[in-house]
Symmetry: C2
Amino acid sequence: MTAQPDLTADQTADQTPANGGKITISVDAMGGDAGPTAVVAGIELSAKAYDDIAFVLHGPVEQLEPLVAKRRVLQGRVVFSDARDVVTMDDKPAHVMRNGKGTSMWSSLETLRSGEAAGAVSCGNTGALMAISMIRLRKLPGVNRPAIAILFPSRNPQGFNVMLDVGADVRADSPDLLQFALMGASYARNGLDLDRPRVGLLNVGTEEHKGRAELKEAHALITGHDAANFDFVGFVEGSDITSDRVDVIVTDGFTGNVAIKTGEGTASLIGDLLRQAFRHSIMSRIASVLALSTMFRLKQRIDPRRVNGGVFLGLNGIVVKSHGGADATGVAAAVGLAYRLAKSGFAAKLAARVAKTGNPAEQADNGQAE
Amino acid sequence: MTAQPDLTADQTADQTPANGGKITISVDAMGGDAGPTAVVAGIELSAKAYDDIAFVLHGPVEQLEPLVAKRRVLQGRVVFSDARDVVTMDDKPAHVMRNGKGTSMWSSLETLRSGEAAGAVSCGNTGALMAISMIRLRKLPGVNRPAIAILFPSRNPQGFNVMLDVGADVRADSPDLLQFALMGASYARNGLDLDRPRVGLLNVGTEEHKGRAELKEAHALITGHDAANFDFVGFVEGSDITSDRVDVIVTDGFTGNVAIKTGEGTASLIGDLLRQAFRHSIMSRIASVLALSTMFRLKQRIDPRRVNGGVFLGLNGIVVKSHGGADATGVAAAVGLAYRLAKSGFAAKLAARVAKTGNPAEQADNGQAE
């Protein structure tokens, strides 16, 4: 196993993608449930938030131009890339890979690939976006499986934990899980400003004898890896995803996807039951009026739109998948995330980080207990 | 594949285990975090709720007798079974299997095995309880992997959905998932009084091409099985665990365990944030006083103690695992569940149900698409 400490990989600034001093984000305007109107309203919010942001906007130009023309803050900051086709939510990834060249999604990734943009954002079909990203951007050297990382509300001071993979692939072998640990730690450093993120491996118990074989192997691999920029806390459980025991939760894309959707479903059920409970009597209706600002504060704290954006890790380039149902606030959150990661030089840092681990297959051979 | 419709297996009454007209539940008094005091207080609540319930209580008799003597409703309804040893939460299942004969947990399962009781309840170590249950009660003919089923709060009229497996085994092959579907449906009929429960298979998407290979196989197996007493709704997602699209969620014990703990963690985080939010200002403090009964109603609705009890399915006998931290209310819920299932003749119905499916390995061979 390579064991060179690498204290600088995440800390050196690298060339910030420059475009007349601007950070350019490539944005797929189509494919979201709310259409290009929400996307353009979202980039308007981002343009107000960041002076040095610019956009390449992909879609039917005759639809996009009038939407942009209405918004003064966007003047001179948007380049249009005319794309006639749209990837729908029902399109199968394999179909899009063969026939998707004319789509706004494909076009948005080409702009990232060519270096004209420093990050790409799409609200479209996740499977198709990952499939095109894999073939056009290609995986980073040393990465076998890319992962999608999201932020999940937690008790930590930063308000969120990083979880990956939440759905890039339904499987992950132990070397993949080591890569996820490294990539997740790097993302937490750059996305959440944590100096030494604590990384945990999701399992059904915290004792070392529990769980599936690949998890015991991954535990040994991550323990054996000379972790210069994170602390490995070992196994964590489902209840730790929202806890302050850990900052980064590592799991396969099947388990991660089920877990985040279970969390979302639970939160949504509680919200609805709360509303029902407040409608129950006159007293509770009065309470609900007085509690409005309280509820608003709570909602702000856990509002999924605030952290809208699954980041694809392990590719040559930063791709942020926004929720398909994102409104302007959600789109702005995803664009803002792509912007901040681009500005921090995250893509190059991540590449340096995983390159240092060498070939994951070798790691597996050396790291396994028997 | 056997395809005989079996309309009667769940509907015929079978011999209710009788003991002077009483339903006897074997209760492990030790091993829970709150000790025998909470357990005896719990069976007192159950004795008040059910006229025809009786108990065999396992543990150090000199500790148990004084606790029982104080409670008038328990007089003449408790038989003591002296057991000196206790299985702790840290004991490994393999160790308990070799050395556990003198424990209250082992003793409580022997009473079930001998037919002196119609159900068993323990607050102790889940892994040890499953391990002893497997060797002493043995699996039902036709069952490869037993499963632990729990109730999870949902939007359904019955207030809960059944989910299994939540931790008996970290793996499940496609024939196991078929068995889980049959056992879960039978449990929903007897535990939730649903005539035709809707059964879903947990996956990362509802489209048939998604997910792991064993899930696609299981989808074909369950679709191909002549389901006389349930409706198969196909794949469901994590967000459906709390939904009204489905009554029974089938998954492997790894995914199920992570999902329920994620749901619990999310609910607990929201509860804490809600309390914080209400403490924020004078207005919100007033609102919180007015909202007290509202919050109490909500808490009642999703109180995990109300549905405390993981049921072991696929064994010769009904074993209910109560939460280790259960108080009297929690113990009473678990005991009440064991009592109701015993009274309905559930064990015999379940055995008839899975016996009809024949050898699961054969099912796999016949049911796979290619």
